[in-house]
C-alpha cells in the first residue's frame, strides 16, 4: 500500500463519506467544547462572569463530555475506518451496516447532549451536570446514561465491523502478517471491549436503575471503581489513534520511514495488556480501598511508562531518519532539516513534545505518595490538557490537514493559516497548562467555579495567583482562537476548488518491517487472555472487598441533592426539638446525614 497513487476518495468513495461524516461530528463537538472551555477560563479566573456559577458545572460537563467522548471517539472511528480499509486494501463488508453504527453513536451523543444542555433551561425538568466523571452521588437524568450507553454500543459494533473486515482479509491472505495499522486497530479495540465492560456494568446495573428510581441507593465506591476501570483505559483509547498517526504518518511527512514495525507492535500489545488493571490509581485518595490494592495499581501504572518510552524512541528515530534523508547532519543539527513549514508535521511534532512533558506530570500523578500533593487540584487539569488536550487533540487537527483533501478531493485551504493554527495551539497550551500545573501545587482546586475565598489567599512561591490567572486567560483565548482557525481551514477546504494533484493514500514504509517481528506478537488471543488475567488479578479482590463492606447497592441514601447533609441536620434538629422523646427517629436521620456528608466529601 505504500506506493499507491490514488487519493482515498477515489479508492474507497463510500468509506470516504463515512469517515468524513465521523470527522465532522468530531469537529462540531470540538467547536462547542472549545467555546465552553473559553467560557470556563474566563469564569474561573473572575475575568468575565456572564453565567451563573451554578451553570458553570453544566458548562464543565459539556466541555468534558463533548471533547473527551465525542470529539476524540468520533475522530477515532473515522481514522480506524481509514486505517482498516487502507492497510487491508479492502472495503468494509456493508456500508449500510457501517452507517448503522455511526447512526447509533450520533443518536446516543445527541441524547446525552440534550440532557446536558437542558440543564440551562429551568422549564425542562432534565439535567445532567454530573461532569465527565459521572459517578454517585451526582445523579443525571436517565437520558444522559442511555445516550452514553448507546454511543458506546455503537463503538462496539464499529469494532466488530473492523474485525470482520480483517477476518475476510485473513481468509484471502492466510499466510500474511497483519498490516501494522490494522494490528493497531485490533489491539486498541480489544482493549476497549475489556475496558468498557466496567462502565457498562456501572451504568446498566447500578447508576441507570438508580436514576430511574428502580433502586433506592447504590454503593458509591463500587460505581466509582467501575467507572475508573473504564476511566483510565479510555485515555489510551484517545491516545492510540494519535500514536497510530505518530507511527505511520509522522515518519512519512518527515520524509523518512518508520524505524521499527516490531517495536510498534510491542507497544500496542503492552497497551492492550496494561491499560485496564491500573484504574485504581485514580482512587489513591478514596477511602474504602486498601493501600495494598492501590500499590498494585501503581506498579502496573509505572509499567505503562515502558510503551510510552519505547514510542518516544521509535518516533524520534523515525523523524531523524527523515531528517537525515533530507540532508540533516549532527547530533541535534538534523532537527533543522525537518519540514517545519508543513502544518501536518509541525502539529504532530509539537503534540509529541507536549506529550513528553506530560510524561513527567503523569509520573507525579501515578506515584501513590506524591499524588496526595496534587490530587483533585488544578495540576491534574494541566496534566490532561497536555495529554488529551494536546498530544491527542493537536495530532488530530494536524492530520486533518492531510485527511480532509484525501476525503474530499479538495485543495487544502490554507497551509499558512494551518501552520499558524498549530503554533497558536502550542503557545496557548504552554501558557495555560504551565499555569494550571503551578496553580495545583499551590492547592488551587479543580472543578470549581469560584476558586477565590474570603479571608484566604493561595500563596505562590514564585510569581502570584494573578500572574497564573493571566497566563490561563491568555492561553485559553489563544486556544479558542486556534480552534476557530482550525474550523476555518476545514470549512475553507470543503468549500474550495478540487485538487487534481493530490498525493496518493499512503502511509509510512518501514526500515525494519513485520518480517522482523516475532510471530507471537500477532497472536491476539494470547494477549487478550493475558490482559484478562491481569484485570482479574488487579480487580477481583478490591471489588469483593468493596461489595462486602458497602453492599452491592450500598446504604439507603438515595439520589438526593448535595445540600442534603445540611437539610438532614436541620430536620434532625427540628425533630429533636419537637419530639424530645423520639430519639429513635432522630438518631438514624443524623447517621444518614453524616454518611451523606462523608460520601459527598
Amino acid at each position: 500500500m505504500t506506493s499507491n497513487e490514488t487519493p482515498y476518495l477515489e479508492q474507497f468513495p463510500g468509506e470516504a463519506k463515512l469517515v468524513k461524516a465521523a470527522f465532522w461530528s468530531s469537529f462540531i463537538s470540538l467547536a462547542i467544547g472549545a467555546l465552553f472551555g473559553v467560557i470556563q477560563v474566563l469564569h474561573r479566573t473572575d475575568v468575565l462572569r456572564f453565567i451563573d456559577s451554578a451553570d458553570y458545572y453544566t458548562v464543565l460537563t459539556i466541555h468534558g463530555v463533548l471533547l473527551v467522548i465525542s470529539f476524540t471517539i468520533f475522530f477515532l472511528v473515522g481514522l480506524f475506518t481509514w486505517a482498516i480499509t487502507t492497510s487491508l486494501d479492502r472495503p468494509l463488508p456493508s456500508l449500510r451496516f457501517s452507517w448503522g453504527w455511526y447512526g447509533m453513536m450520533v443518536a446516543g451523543m445527541l441524547a446525552s447532549a440534550f440532557s446536558m444542555f437542558a440543564g440551562f433551561i429551568d422549564s425542562i425538568d432534565v439535567s445532567a451536570s454530573v461532569l465527565f466523571t459521572f459517578y454517585a452521588p451526582l445523579q443525571a437524568h436517565p437520558l444522559y446514561y442511555i445516550g452514553l450507553v448507546t454511543f458506546v454500543v455503537g463503538t462496539w459494533v464499529a469494532g466488530f465491523d473492523w474485525i470482520r473486515t480483517w477476518w475476510g482479509w485473513k481468509q484471502d491472505n492466510p499466510d500474511e502478517r497483519i498490516p501494522l495499522p490494522t494490528f493497531m486497530v485490533l489491539t486498541t479495540m480489544i482493549m476497549w471491549y475489556i475496558a468498557t465492560l466496567g462502565v457498562a456494568v456501572a451504568l446498566l446495573a447500578f447508576i441507570l436503575p438508580w436514576s430511574l428510581g428502580l433502586v433506592d441507593s447504590i454503593n458509591p465506591t463500587l460505581t466509582r471503581t467501575l467507572f475508573w476501570f473504564f476511566g483510565h483505559p479510555v485515555v489510551y483509547f484517545w491516545l492510540m489513534p494519535a500514536y497510530m498517526m505518530w507511527y505511520i504518518m509522522l515518519p512519512k511527512v518527515a520524509g523518512g520511514k518508520l524505524f521499527s514495525d516490531p517495536l510498534a507492535r510491542v507497544v500496542f500489545v503492552l497497551f492492550l495488556v496494561l491499560s485496564v488493571p491500573t484504574g485504581i490509581h485514580h482512587q489513591y485518595l478514596d477511602p474504602g480501598i486498601a493501600e495494598g490494592f492501590k500499590f498494585i495499581a501503581m506498579t502496573n501504572t509505572m509499567f505503562l511508562l515502558l510503551p510510552s518510552f519505547l514510542t518516544a524512541f521509535t518516533v524520534v528515530a523515525s523523524m531523524e531518519h527523515g531528517a537525515r534523508q533530507r540532508g540533516g547532519t549532527g547530533y541535534l543539527g538534523w532537527l533543522k532539516a525537518l519540514p517545519w513549514r508543513d502544518p501536518v508535521f509541525t502539529g504532530m511534532a509539537l503534540a509529541g513534545m507536549m506529550f513528553a512533558a506530560a510524561g513527567f506530570s503523569g509520573m507525579i500523578n501515578a506515584g501513590m505518595n506524591i499524588n496526595y500533593l496534587v490530587h483533585n487540584t488544578f495540576w491534574v487539569v494541566g496534566h490532561f490538557h497536555l495529554t488529551v488536550g494536546t498530544g491527542v487533540a493537536l495530532t488530530f487537527m494536524a492530520v486533518s490537514y492531510w485527511f480532509m483533501p484525501q476525503l474530499t478531493g479538495k485543495r487544502l485551504w490554507n497551509r499558512t493559516v494551518a501552520l499558524v493554527q498549530v503554533l497558536l495551539w502550542f503557545v496557548g497550551m504552554t501558557l495555560m497548562s504551565n499555569a494550571m500545573h503551578r496553580g495545583g501545587l499551590l492547592g488551587i482546586p479543580r472543578r470549581t467555579a469560584e476558586p477565590q475565598y474570603d479571608g484566604f489567599e493561595f500563596e505562590a512561591g514564585v510569581g502570584s495567583v494573578a500572574e497564573l490567572d493571566a497566563q490561563i486567560v491568555i492561553g485559553g483565548i489563544l486556544l479558542g482562537l486556534s480552534t476557530a482557525l482550525f474550523l476555518a481551514v476545514m470549512i475553507g477546504t470543503v468549500l474550495g476548488p478540487r485538487d487534481d494533484s493530490l498525493p496518493g493514500n499512503n502511509y509510512a514504509e518501514t526500515l525494519s518491517g513485520p518480517e522482523d517481528a516475532p510471530l507471537v506478537l500477532d497472536n491476539l488471543k494470547l494477549w487478550t487472555i493475558i490482559a484478562i488475567i491481569l484485570v482479574i488479578f488487579a480487580y477481583t479482590l478490591p471489588l469483593l472487598s468493596i461489595i462486602s463492606r458497602g453492599g452491592l447497592f450500598g446504604f439507603e441514601t438515595g439520589g438526593l441533592p448535595l445540600s442534603i447533609s445540611l437539610l438532614g441536620s436541620t430536620i434532625a434538629a427540628t425533630f429533636g426539638e419537637l419530639l424530645p422523646a423520639a430519639g429513635s427517629v432522630t438518631a438514624p436521620l443524623e447517621t444518614a446525614a453524616t454518611t451523606l456528608t462523608g460520601i459527598v466529601r
Binding site: E320, R324, Y331, V344, M363, Y401, M404, Q406, R415
Partner: protein, 77 residues
C-alpha cells in the same frame, strides 16, 4: 506524484501532505540514530532534574524552595 518531480516550492503551496522526495536514501544498516540518543538523553536529564526538584516541592513546604532560596540569596547579596 508531482511533489517528487517538482521543486519544494510546489509542495509548500499544496499543503495536505505532499512530501518532498529524499535527497539521499538511507537504508536500515547505514542508519545510526545518534540524534535520537542525544534528544532522548536530554529528555532523560530533564526528567531526572525535575524529579530532584519534586523532592523540594513535596517535602520542604509547598514552595519550590530551591528557586525561592536562590532568589532570596540574590536579594540579600
Amino acid at each position: 506524484m508531482s511533489s517528487e518531480t517538482e521543486p519544494p516550492a510546489s509542495s509548500q503551496e499544496a499543503g495536505g501532505g505532499h512530501v518532498d522526495g529524499p535527497i539521499r536514501e538511507i537504508g536500515h544498516d547505514e542508519y545510526d540514530p545518534v540524534g535520537t540518543l542525544a534528544l532522548i538523553g536530554l529528555y532523560f536529564l530533564i526528567l531526572v532534574a525535575l524529579w530532584f526538584f519534586m523532592y523540594f516541592v513535596e517535602f520542604i513546604g509547598n514552595d519550590p524552595t530551591v528557586v525561592g532560596s536562590i532568589l532570596g540569596g540574590v536579594m540579600v547579596a
